[in-house]
């Protein structure tokens, strides 16, 4: 199928609206992506025809809901090339997935004297759960530094790896800078010392092909809403042998084999980690989002976004007083910047009044801001439904803001 952005835009009803009298330009895709009609339809169809609890009813609706929910698990597993869908745990999102690993794998395997290695460019959700684990266990958090381009310093990473390192947790694609980290090489180096690796794929899965087997990653986390699915659902991928050894996290229905007052026995993965009624509609609609992405083709998506980022970066270079934050060689979909004399929050408000939605703030990555000695950046983040005309609108609005503040 040839890639046609005009046709694709028609699949996203939310894009077809005016904001403050201008056609909406949505450039906040790193915060959350918009949903195609097929995802919205999957949600409503579930509630209109299939709504039932899963894994327990013998009636038709329950069997239908269960089959669709499990089909979604299969689609997600296939999307990241997992060996088995049993390695996919449904959670509320990437944040919950990281907390799950910290509180099950971490509590069991990490203890005082151990080191957990993260990077300076992590989202708070890949920092705070490890800090909490450190407080609980007496382990220490170590941080891989980055350079002024926003790239992790690989020599420092190798120096930081040692016999006490119990886990490496790194982002695949930085939400604040757009840096694509060389996770495959880093996993290889960590594994050479027997260190397991968690990769935070929240930002990456909408933009690039992920192959967890090729990466040989131990844990990979993702959020549906960052890849055109609904909010409130995400997944943890973990290697089957790790899941088998991990204790359960939340206790409740659906995660047990037997319950008595003398003790309970637990189900096997993935159900061992899915206590309570999950976001059934969300998971099914996420499956629809993955079908949609597969139909378009990730290679076309990546190529279009690469062109958009190159176009925007080139325009940014020509704006006096604009500094791009994050200039890694390997980047995807994100243009983060500061402008002299205009605070990002003022820019965010002015752009909004011009119909352009961007993010202004620290992007839940305060250590990145501290490194660059700034309070915040303005961030334009692209998806495959964005166009170069929209980027022109962004830069026209920036020029207007500069004029207003001159």
């Amino acid at each position: 199928m040839a890639f046609n952005v005009d046709t694709i835009r028609k699949d996203f009803p939310v894009l077809n609206q005016q904001v403050h009298g201008y056609p909406l330009v949505y450039l906040d895709n790193a915060a959350t992506t918009q949903k195609p009609q097929c995802v919205i339809d999957a949600l409503t169809h579930y509630y209109e025809y299939d709504n039932a609890n899963i894994h327990r009813g013998v009636h038709t609706l329950s069997e239908r809901a269960t089959a669709k929910y499990e089909a979604a698990r299969q689609k997600i597993g296939a999307y990241i090339h997992a060996s088995s869908e049993k390695e996919i745990i449904f959670v509320r999102g990437a944040t919950e997935a990281i907390n799950l690993v910290a509180q099950t794998y971490g509590r069991k395997n990490i203890s005082a004297g151990d080191e957990i290695l993260v990077s300076m460019m992590e989202h708070h959700s890949n920092i705070v759960p490890w800090q909490m684990l450190c407080e609980q266990t007496g382990a220490t958090l170590k941080v891989i530094p980055m350079n002024e381009h926003g790239e992790l310093i690989q020599d420092k990473f190798v120096e930081l790896l040692n016999k006490n390192t119990a886990l490496l947790a790194i982002g695949h694609l930085s939400n604040a800078l757009g840096t694509v980290n060389p996770v495959k090489e880093m996993i290889e180096k960590a594994h050479a010392l027997g260190v397991p690796v968690l990769v935070d794929g929240a930002q990456a899965t909408a933009h690039m092909t992920v192959d967890v087997v090729d990466l040989d990653v131990d844990f990979y986390v993702m959020s549906a809403h960052k890849m055109f699915g609904p909010t409130g659902v995400g997944a943890l991928y973990a290697k089957a042998e790790l899941l088998a050894e991990m204790p359960p996290w939340h206790g409740g229905g659906d995660m047990i084999r037997t319950v008595s007052f003398s003790g309970s026995t637990y189900s096997q993965a993935p159900y061992k980690f899915e206590a309570g009624t999950p976001n059934i509609a969300g998971a099914i609609a996420w499956g629809a989002a993955i079908d949609y992405l597969n139909d378009i083709g990730l290679n076309y998506i990546a190529a279009h976004e690469h062109d958009l980022l190159a176009y925007a970066t080139n325009k940014a270079r020509q704006v006096a007083g604009l500094k791009v934050i994050g200039q890694a060689k390997d980047k995807a979909s994100i243009l983060s910047f500061v402008m002299s004399d205009i605070h990002p929050h003022d820019l965010g408000t002015i752009l909004d009044r011009c119909g352009v939605a961007v993010r202004a703030g620290h992007h839940c990555a305060m250590p990145v801001m501290q490194y660059f000695d700034i309070a915040a950046t303005t961030r334009a983040s692209f998806a495959f439904y964005n166009t170069t005309e929209e980027i022109d609108r962004l830069f026209a609005a920036l020029a207007y803001a500069q004029e207003m503040f001159s």
Partner: protein, 152 residues
């Protein structure tokens, strides 16, 4: 009533952001406090010199933030100098009332003098906290609250 961007970023706001008044420390201050907005990272420190007659002899601030928070702090220091602590409290209430008031109602803010320039934030709910951070910080300083003042 429809506010546009020029109502928010009036010349006086742009000017006070570029050239904030009383942007300095007061070494012999009687009261001071930190103000912090955790969502956007705006950070202010407010200094006051209040004499034995409860008169604000001098007031100043330092910090970083958006144009609205810097201009608001600058205008606040100008307005509050020479007022009594009680008058300052009344002013805070009037200011708070102005920035949170209903935009559909025609209102007269002339009693607020220069501060009326900030009436435009009423149209921008996400920015009200920027305008009011400095005022909360002064309240914290006067009440001796050691924790950073927050707008959240």
């Amino acid at each position: 009533m429809f506010f546009d961007l020029k109502d928010l970023y009036q010349q006086v706001i742009v000017d006070h952001n570029k050239h904030p008044r009383n942007f300095r420390e007061i070494e012999s201050c009687s009261h001071d406090a930190d103000g912090y907005n955790p969502l956007c990272g705006d950070q202010l420190h407010v200094y006051l010199k209040v004499n034995e007659h409860h008169l604000v002899q001098d007031i100043s601030f330092k910090g970083t933030g958006c144009a609205i928070s810097i201009a608001s702090a600058s205008l606040m220091t100008e307005t509050m100098t020479g007022k009594t602590v009680d008058e300052a409290k009344v002013l805070f209430e009037s200011f708070q009332q102005m920035v949170t008031s209903d935009i559909t109602e025609e209102q007269d803010f002339s009693h607020l003098g220069k501060l009326a320039a900030l009436a435009g934030v009423r149209e921008f709910p996400s920015r009200i906290k920027c305008a009011i951070l400095c005022w909360h910080t002064v309240q914290a300083a006067l009440s001796g609250d050691q924790d950073a003042a927050r707008t959240e």
